[in-house]
Symmetry: none
Subunit: 401 residues, 2 copies
């Protein structure tokens, strides 16, 4: 039986409140062999106090050795198998700019690119044109007219943009126009099954008209499309978990991911304190809250060990804003590791803390990589976090008699 169906069968409602606090890219590395990680370096008296009556462990975002992108990593946190439910690049891109995709929308990633007089690609990134330039080009491309289709073209950053086609019976079974190399022409978009044939025609029509508009816009005189995707048809949290769930996130990508599983997105200020205050003001309205802290990841990506330490300490300083609300279940997790040492996401397991009245505390009293690897929860897939939280809020009934 499918995991989500099992949980759907077992889940019940009650009055408990759950908070899943996600520190993006939480896991780290020491700067030298045997050195402390960012989290181990941070002074976290409040989290450690919580750890005394919590169960700790380490989560594998996807599987051993696999470095997770934000999309699959968050699907796992929400309890959706990240190998089974892939979110197409186009849909993730739309989520990333906060575009609210509708059921039949078709999205694709755009690269502005440079082609020579023969149409051969000379630069797949159009010299990484500035974001304000690509924004202007996007506005021009949005004026392309295709019969019965509404078109949205939105800049992401530099040469990156997203196009969304809105119409009936659009299919995402399409090949990319982006050949992923230079020295060749961009490709025709080809239907990968019969039902996609009319969609292929209109997408190629869009590309053709767009190229005409861009002809004199060197270096951004072409576009390359890839990752055609419709809104992922994920089961909704209200159905699977019977939860009224809300997301508190400042970055569009994470709002988009939360929206894909049916969370309500709460307007919020972007600082840690503001996000925690958003929790407080909405605490009575929902059963489940996903709070997303981005700065742990971005400081890790920047290779800024000290800043990542500070961000963790700031979370700790503001923790009372959450604990004072006395949620029945509080989980502190990361979607993946982002060690400053690597300046990128990594495959390393991520510290995890679960606090509830029923969590069977272990004897680990510090929230850190080495200590959590000795925690009572052991090392387990991040995919299990939601079922653990549900169990600890007594929202899952017995399986079998």
């Amino acid at each position: 039986m499918d995991r989500l169906n099992l949980i759907k069968d077992l889940s019940v409602t009650n009055n408990t409140k759950m908070v899943l606090l996600v520190l993006d890219g939480l896991g780290g590395l020491g700067l030298e062999a045997g050195g402390k990680t960012e989290l181990e370096t941070a002074n976290t008296p409040n989290i450690d106090l919580l750890a005394e009556s919590a169960a700790l462990g380490m989560t594998d975002p996807i599987m051993a050795g696999i470095t997770a992108g934000s999309g699959p990593a968050h699907l796992a946190l929400f309890g959706y198998d990240p190998i089974k439910y892939a979110i197409g690049r186009g849909a993730l891109g739309a989520a990333g700019i906060g575009f609210n995709m509708q059921e039949n929308d078709l999205a694709a990633r755009i690269n502005f690119a440079t082609v020579d007089n023969d149409g051969l690609i000379t630069d797949r990134r159009a010299g990484r044109i500035a974001t304000n330039e690509s924004s202007q080009l996007c506005e021009l491309l949005e004026k392309v007219e295709i019969k019965n289709i509404e078109i949205f073209v939105k800049s992401v950053k530099e040469h990156r943009a997203v196009v969304i086609f809105r119409g009936s019976e659009l299919s995402d079974k399409l090949s990319d126009s982006d050949p992923q190399k230079t020295g060749v022409q961009s490709k025709e978009v080809v239907a990968l099954d019969e039902c996609a044939e009319t969609t292929a025609i209109l997408v190629n029509e869009f590309i053709h008209k767009a190229q005409n508009i861009l002809a004199d816009k060197y270096p951004a005189n072409a576009i390359l499309l890839r990752g055609f995707a419709k809104k992922p048809g994920l089961s909704q949290m209200k159905d699977v978990y019977k939860l009224h769930a809300a997301a508190i996130a400042a970055y569009p990508m994470y709002k988009g991911l939360a929206q894909f599983v049916g969370m309500e997105i709460l307007p919020t200020g972007g600082s840690i304190r503001e996000e925690f205050e958003t929790l407080r003001t909405n605490f009575n309205r929902f059963d489940f809250f996903f709070i997303h802290i981005k700065a742990t990841d971005s400081s890790g990506e920047d290779g800024d060990f000290d800043r990542k330490v500070s961000v963790i300490e700031e979370v700790d300083k503001n923790l009372a804003l959450i604990t004072d609300l006395k949620p029945d279940v509080l989980a502190i997790a990361g979607d993946h590791s982002t060690p400053a040492f690597l300046k990128s996401h990594s495959w390393h397991p991520v510290p995890f803390l679960l606090h509830s009245k029923y969590c069977r505390p272990d004897d680990v009293k510090h929230f850190g990589e080495t200590s959590c690897s000795r925690g009572g929860l052991g090392k387990f897939p991040a995919l299990d976090i939601m079922s653990l939280m549900m169990a600890n809020s007594l929202r899952l009934t017995k399986y079998g008699a």
Copy 2:
């Protein structure tokens, strides 16, 4: 998505060097309750020094409680699901004697056996005849002539041998002739699907002619065939991992297993020192090295606790021959446990050590069963070893955006 396909999608090449050092049957048991294991008894200052800046853990060769044979245990070490990819007994037998199977070869295990005047089996092992006797019988059986088929019959040890049929369109969908009990006649080999019918006929013809040759060779006056198998069609390491991989092993079985996944087999002396020197002289030629040490297992199988301790200490004494080469990733693993106390393979998890610049060292500083069970890697399937090594050599790109 299939695990190997996922890794194939994510793997990239670079200039790193990886060494997987396998101490066959590494895991052990104490001789009395609470006693130290072979590994814990051994004096291993060099491995322990490595442990200080390494991540440690325990691997489950197949799954909890399952005792692994060499075939599945090594498939797991190489990252191939040992439940999904079974290597037939015949193919494993051929690998075990260093027979290089070709694409269309069909192999089967032979037992020399004893039958009475009515053809009823009285001894399935022909009184465990000496190896030199069975070798002579194999030479006779190799003279059997079957139209369009080349036949190889090779002695393994005592009453055990292997037959390989070489021809076109041979099938391994065949039942055994070995009834696995005495007091009955050997069985006709039966085709298990239509395509195997001509193969069944020629195999039965071989058995019939062989019995005629053996009629006066009491006690080895019959043969029993089982485990018909073609060469396993495993994805090759160069395709899955994009690795140029080499195997350093003295025993034919392990060379055969390595060959099945596409490793190049390096000629080597059989002592630990000689094997490590083979690594040194070939270090520039490959990305990945599998080094196989057999004596830990054979001493365990012999129930010789002290000899197993000595073998481990000899590995430790020679370790600098590996570490001086400064491989980017060095893993020390076992394929399964072979406690001298049990004189056989066992199901117990196996100590594992992973050393790399990015391995997130834990605070375990000794390589032993009890200490490794507290290591930062936790307990995990041996199947994950290759993806961990690939990650630590930065050869796996991110999954999902």
